[in-house]
Symmetry: C2
Subunit: 446 residues, 2 copies
C-alpha cells in the first residue's frame, strides 16, 4: 500500500469498524484497514496491492445499503469511494453528467436542476447515498415508476478491475450497441466484478411545473390495490405511487399524530409531474373514490404536496422507533400486489411477528419491515421464518426476492429458489472472468 499517498489508510480499530458496517444489523468481521480513495490511481494502487497479497477488498459508498453488501469481513480491506465527489461534467445539451462514485445522489439531482434537468433515480436514501453505491445495487426509488431504475440512467462506466486494469464500458450517447452490455452487467453487481471510478449518467428534463399530489385512505388493502390497478390501466403515468399499510400508519400516528381514523387500513399517495398534473391527479383521485376510498386530498401547492408526501417519508423512521428492523424488498407483478399483501399479513400472524409494509405500488415493489427486539445479534427464528414465507410466496406469485436493495449477504440463502443452477453457474463463470482470484467483495450478490 506504499503507493498510496499519506493519510489514505485508516487502521484505528473503532474507525475501521464504523466503515465495516452498512445500514443492516449484519455484524462485520475485523478488516485490516480502510482506504479512503481520492482518485482512480488510489483505487488502482489498492487493487494491485490486494491482488498481490490476495486480500479481499470491500468497496463502499456511503454505507446505506440494506442487504449487507458492504459489510466487511475479517482480514479484508474496505475501499471507500465517498471522497471521490467530483461532478466532472454536466452537459445540458447532451443531457448527461460524468461523475465520480462518491457524489451524493441528491447533489447530482440539484446540480442538474440548475439547468432545468434532473437525475431521476431517487432511492429513499438519496440525500445520503452515493451514485457509486446506487450503481452497485441498481437502486430504485419513488420516481422509478415513471423514470426507471438506476440502470436506466447509466450510459457508461470507468471500472478498475481486480488486477488494477482499467475498463471503459458503454458510451456518452443515448443509444449504442457496440459489443456486450458491460455497463448493465456492472450495475447491480455489488462490487463483485470491479470498482466503479467514474460514471456517465443520463439526465432528464425536469418537469416545468410543481407536481400534483393526492393521498387517499382506504378501508382495506385490497381496495387500495384495486385503485392502483385502475390508475395504471387508465394510463395516468404517476411519477410516484406509494402504498402504506395499517401497521405503518399506526407507527407514524403514534409518533407524529396524523389523525389516523380507526377504519383506515391503507393509504395511497400518488403524484403526477405531467404538464397537466392537476388534471391527472384529479383523475387518480376519482379512481380512488370509485374503488372505495373514504377520504381523498389533492393538491398542487408545493407546501401541501410536501405534507402529503411527508407521511410517506416518515415511514422508515417511525418503524425504527418500534425496534430493530429487517427491511425486505420483494417485487411482484402488479396484478398480484393485493395477494402479496395478504400473504405478508398471513406470515405476520402465523409467526407472531410485527410487519409494517410500504410499497412502491406502481412497480409492485413491497418493503415489508419485520420488527424485532433491539440488541439481538440477528433477527430471531420467527422473523426469519416469516421472511421465508414472504420470499417463497413472492416467488410463487411470479415475483423476485429483491426489487431494488440487492442480494448482499442477507438474501443469499434464498438465491437458489429464484436463480436456477444454470444461472448461478454462469454468474460464477462471469465473476471468474473479472476477478479470477476472488478478492472483490467475496460472499456477496451471487
Amino acid at each position: 500500500m506504499r503507493a498510496l499517498p499519506e493519510g489514505r489508510v485508516l487502521t484505528d480499530p473503532d474507525v475501521v469498524d464504523s466503515y465495516a458496517r452498512d445500514r443492516t444489523f449484519v455484524e462485520p468481521g475485523k478488516p485490516l484497514g480502510v482506504v479512503l480513495a481520492a482518485s482512480r490511481d488510489d483505487v488502482v494502487a489498492t487493487l494491485r496491492w490486494a491482488s498481490e497479497h490476495r486480500v479481499p477488498v470491500v468497496p463502499r459508498g456511503a454505507g446505506t445499503g440494506l442487504a449487507g453488501a458492504s459489510t466487511a469481513g475479517d482480514g479484508s480491506v474496505v475501499l471507500s469511494l465517498h471522497r471521490m465527489t467530483a461532478i466532472k461534467e454536466l452537459s445540458p445539451a447532451d443531457e448527461i453528467a460524468v461523475v465520480e462514485p462518491g457524489v451524493i445522489t441528491a447533489d447530482l439531482d440539484r446540480a442538474a436542476r440548475e439547468h432545468g434537468l434532473m437525475y431521476a433515480p431517487d432511492p429513499s436514501s438519496y440525500e445520503i447515498s452515493t451514485i457509486g453505491g446506487n450503481l452497485a445495487t441498481n437502486a430504485g426509488g419513488l420516481r422509478c415508476v415513471k423514470y426507471g431504475v438506476t440502470r436506466d440512467s447509466a450510459l457508461g462506466l470507468e471500472v478498475v478491475l481486480a488486477d488494477g486494469r482499467i475498463l471503459q464500458t458503454g458510451r456518452r450517447t443515448m443509444k449504442g450497441v457496440t459489443g456486450y452490455d458491460l455497463t448493465g452487467l456492472f450495475v447491480g453487481s455489488e462490487g463483485t466484478l470491479g470498482v466503479i471510478t467514474s460514471a456517465t449518467v443520463r439526465l432528464r428534463r425536469a418537469p416545468a411545473v410543481p407536481p400534483a399530489t393526492f393521498a387517499a385512505e382506504f378501508g382495506s388493502l385490497r381496495d387500495a390495490g384495486a385503485a392502483v390497478a385502475a390508475i395504471m390501466a387508465a394510463g395516468c403515468q404517476p411519477s410516484l405511487m406509494e402504498l402504506l399499510d395499517r401497521a405503518t400508519l399506526e407507527a407514524i400516528d403514534d409518533w407524529r399524530n396524523i389523525g389516523l381514523e380507526p377504519g383506515t387500513n391503507a393509504m395511497l399517495i400518488g403524484q403526477s409531474d405531467a404538464a397537466d398534473g392537476q388534471v391527472v391527479a384529479e383523475r387518480m383521485e376519482r379512481l380512488c373514490v370509485d374503488n372505495g376510498a373514504s377520504f381523498v386530498a389533492v393538491s398542487s401547492s408545493p407546501q401541501e404536496t410536501e405534507e402529503l408526501i411527508g407521511v410517506r417519508r416518515m415511514a422508515y423512521d417511525a418503524k425504527e422507533r418500534l425496534g430493530a428492523c429487517l427491511v425486505e424488498d420483494v417485487c411482484v407483478p402488479r396484478s398480484v400486489l393485493p395477494d402479496m399483501i395478504t400473504a405478508i399479513e398471513a406470515a405476520a400472524a402465523r409467526h407472531d411477528v410485527k410487519i409494517c409494509t410500504v410499497a412502491h405500488a406502481g412497480d409492485g415493489n413491497l418493503h415489508p419491515v419485520f420488527i424485532f427486539e433491539r440488541g439481538l445479534p440477528e433477527p430471531p427464528a420467527n422473523v426469519w421464518a416469516a421472511a421465508d414465507d414472504v420470499f417463497t410466496h413472492a416467488l410463487e406469485l411470479g415475483g423476485t426476492l429483491t426489487g431494488e436493495h440487492g442480494v448482499g449477504v442477507l438474501k443469499r440463502r434464498w438465491l437458489a429458489l429464484e436463480s436456477g443452477p444454470v444461472a448461478q453457474e454462469v454468474q460464477q463463470g462471469i465473476k471468474a472472468v473479472f476477478d479470477p482470484l476472488g478478492i472483490l467483495n467475496p460472499g456477496k450478490a451471487i
Copy 2:
C-alpha cells in the same frame, strides 16, 4: 440431428443459400443445412448435436439484419427461429407479454393494441423483423427517442446455451436485482452467447389519442440541427424526430415527386403522442420557425400524419433505387449532430461517394447510406474509405460505431477503435463462459 422431427432440416443448396444471407451485401459461405426450429426442444437438439460435432451454429430471425450478423459461413448450420411465432401470454394487468422469438415485432404491437397497450420498439423493419432478431441486435427504431430501445423492454429471457442447457434470466416484474443482469447481457449479443427461445417483454399504455405530427423544411442542416436541440431543450418529449438530408429528399422526389424546393436542404419530421400532442406539435413547429424553417406543416389527422411520416418511410426504398447500399449507423451526443452531418458531407466529397443520410435526430443516431454500383461483390475502396472517415469522426465526437444495427461482421474491423483491449478481452472471457467451444455465431459481434 436425428433427434429432430421430420421436415425440420433443409439441405437444398438454393434454399440453404437464401437462409444464409441477411439484408447486407455480405456474401455467405456454404452452410451444411438449415434447421427450422418449431420448439425449444428443436433448439436444444440442434445445439447438442452441434456441440458434439463442433459445428458452428448461426441463429437467425427474419434475416433483416443490416450488419451481417446472421450471414452463415462454410460448414455451419443455420438455426432459424422464424417458425416459433407464439404469443404465449399477454397480460394487460401486468403490462407484459411472453413471446417466442419468431413473433413479428409489429404483430406483437398489434396484439398489445387490442388491450390499449403497445410494444414500443419499432425498428424500420418492424413489419418483417422478429422479436428474437430485435433482441439479438438490441434494435432501436423511431419511437425509441421517447420509449427506449429493445433492451428497455426486455424483462426476462429463456435461452438455450451452446451445450443445450436451458438458462432462465430476469423476471416478470418491473424491477428486480437478483444476481447479475444476464438479460441485458444477451440483448445485443447477436447470437454469440446463446439462442433465445422465449422472451418476457414489457408493454406500455398506448397513447389515447392519435399523435400530432409536424414536418419542417430548412435551408441548411445546421438550422435543422439547431431546431432539434431547441425542441429537446424545451422538454417537448417528441415520440419521433427524424431528419432527412438533401440527398435523401432528392432520391425520394425523383421517385415519388414530393415537390422538393431548390432551397430545401433538410427536412425534420416530428411527432408527439402526448395527451396534449397538438399543443406540443405546435410548440415544436414554432421552434422550427424560430430556427429558420421555411415551410412547416402540422396535423393531428391520422391521414395527414400518414402522409407526413410517409416521406420518411420512403427513404430506404428510394435509396435502393439508386444502387447498392451500405447502410451505416453511427450515433453521437445530440449536441454534435450538426458537426457529424458536416463530417459526413465532407467524407462524401473527399472520396467522391454518394451518401444519403437520415437520422433519428432526437437520439443523435445517423444512418448515412453509401450508394455504390450494383453487382459488385462488396463496396469499392472509396466507399470503405468514406465509411472509415465517418466512423473515425463519430468516435472523435464522443460517439459510437453503431447506435442500433449492431456490429455483425461489417463493423468488426473498426471495433478496436471504440472498445479498448481490456473491454475486448473481458468480452472474449464472457463469450468463453457461455460458449467454450466457440460454436455460436463465430466471428460476429465482438
